[in-house]
Symmetry: C2
Subunit: 330 residues, 2 copies
Amino acid sequence: MIRTLPLALPLSLAALVLSLPATAQDAPSPNQVVAEANAEEWVKIAPEDLLVMTLAPDRDGEAREVVIQLMPEPFSQGWVANIRTLARAGWYDGISVNRVQDNYVVQWGDPNYDNPEAEGAAKPLPDGLRVMDESDYVDVVRAAEPGDDKIVLWHPRPDLRDIYAQIATFAKGWPIGIETTQDTKAVRRWPVHCYGMVGVGRGMSPDTGSGAELYTVIGHAPRHLDRNIALVGRIVSGMEYLSSLPRGTGDLGFYTSEEADERTPILSIRVASDLPAAEQPKFEYLSTAGGTFLRYAEARANRRDPFFIMPAGGADICNIPVPLRAAPAD
Amino acid sequence: MIRTLPLALPLSLAALVLSLPATAQDAPSPNQVVAEANAEEWVKIAPEDLLVMTLAPDRDGEAREVVIQLMPEPFSQGWVANIRTLARAGWYDGISVNRVQDNYVVQWGDPNYDNPEAEGAAKPLPDGLRVMDESDYVDVVRAAEPGDDKIVLWHPRPDLRDIYAQIATFAKGWPIGIETTQDTKAVRRWPVHCYGMVGVGRGMSPDTGSGAELYTVIGHAPRHLDRNIALVGRIVSGMEYLSSLPRGTGDLGFYTSEEADERTPILSIRVASDLPAAEQPKFEYLSTAGGTFLRYAEARANRRDPFFIMPAGGADICNIPVPLRAAPAD
């Protein structure tokens, strides 16, 4: 179809319209792109890397289960090991969600640890935890290669790919920031704070986070926390049970002692591989190294499915969530 | 204090450390910067620009009031006028929150309008509404000046200020995107989709949004909606009553007909200037043209208050929320 453009249309806009595919109205949405992925592009998550967090039932008696994926190497492995140790010691059983700060984080742990509303003594931690420091959170690779995956974050201007890092991209299914230090040619890489990412709460000193206090992001990506607090994973299922909790009215969104009954009890946190096979949740993510993910990222950056009239021309890394799904039965 | 840096520290990091103020550990947080603003830097919001939305009380009988600020000229004035017309006709009284999609939007309106779960006929709209089109949402200024305010979004590299627009900045207290078209020297400006912004729901065609269906952002900024759906305001108080609602399990987060009792009733929406003086909410925002806002934006981009060990070096516009507060008594 040949269209005659109105004469008053600015040339730059005309160029944009003309560069769209002729079938723009039938362009697939990002979800439709993902639905077309081959089975081989979905990567199964090992049960050792999944945590099952069981919250107390809600007011209507409905069960609430949250599944968390722990990060693979090379990131945050000391904390990840601590979290498995804490889960296997049963340490998390009986703790609670103590902080819900709107447009920021939900935090769970011991209500008497580092809480402005603490009323008793902190729960003793089990033996065998490693003392970690924030510097262990950033991976330093002595090579010019930026990662295991291709850099896929789509933007017509590479220098506009990210505001918080030289490059933001995806590696092994995770959103990461990258910087190259000029003098050493070392590459520094770190996971970034997108919605649903899980991190390690800590005190003022960077070596005070054990993995006993955890949080997840429930608002706009607080990227200023990148390289300041260690990320250890992400929520893969049940996010809505955390993001919809009532907000705390105390300092930093902690529930005050008057609101103590708002603290959602955590009945247990288990490593999925420790559960009977039939009870193990099975999830997978779309490989971020495949062609489908590249097309998905491009579709997120330039929505051309029917609702949209103006493609954005770019997308920030946290606006390209890595697709996750329950694994189909074998 | 003179520090000896370890020899292994990369030079670029050393330079960063040395460029911090000597009193880095005492640097104020963004909130502390805002607390130091002079009274003249706070701008009162006119009662004509505030809506009071009263939700039904929660399960514990607690009242839930949400206050919305409507946008000033030049943006979206046709929809803003429609919203006042709808409020004054009592049209919103008895509608409900019909859609809560995690990490995206909460939407309220007629449960039988453009809802995959509709069960009855749509509620007739009052007379006097303007038919608006998305092209009325973008302001085109025939001048080289980008706005009324100075451009204050801090970043050491101006070309890294935004991923979705040539420039993202603030004007009259609102976050906006700016693009200059090369051929006409016209400046195109539009408000952007940050957390808590309020927009006009519409169908597939860009002229189908009247202002009867409204939504607010409850997750990571969906900037791909910029210039695709008209923004008309933002939540200034009571956001937590919307963001913590249970998520809908239907298509696009709509509550299914089986979940119809999850739809939160909206008892009324009133223009604040129509209320008795004693019942009018009073709010103000920090001028985005003043020196305090510039220092606040810089502090958001480079956190140096005690918890932080690595300033980000930049911030995206939605990570610099415009400070809002209840106005002190006269």
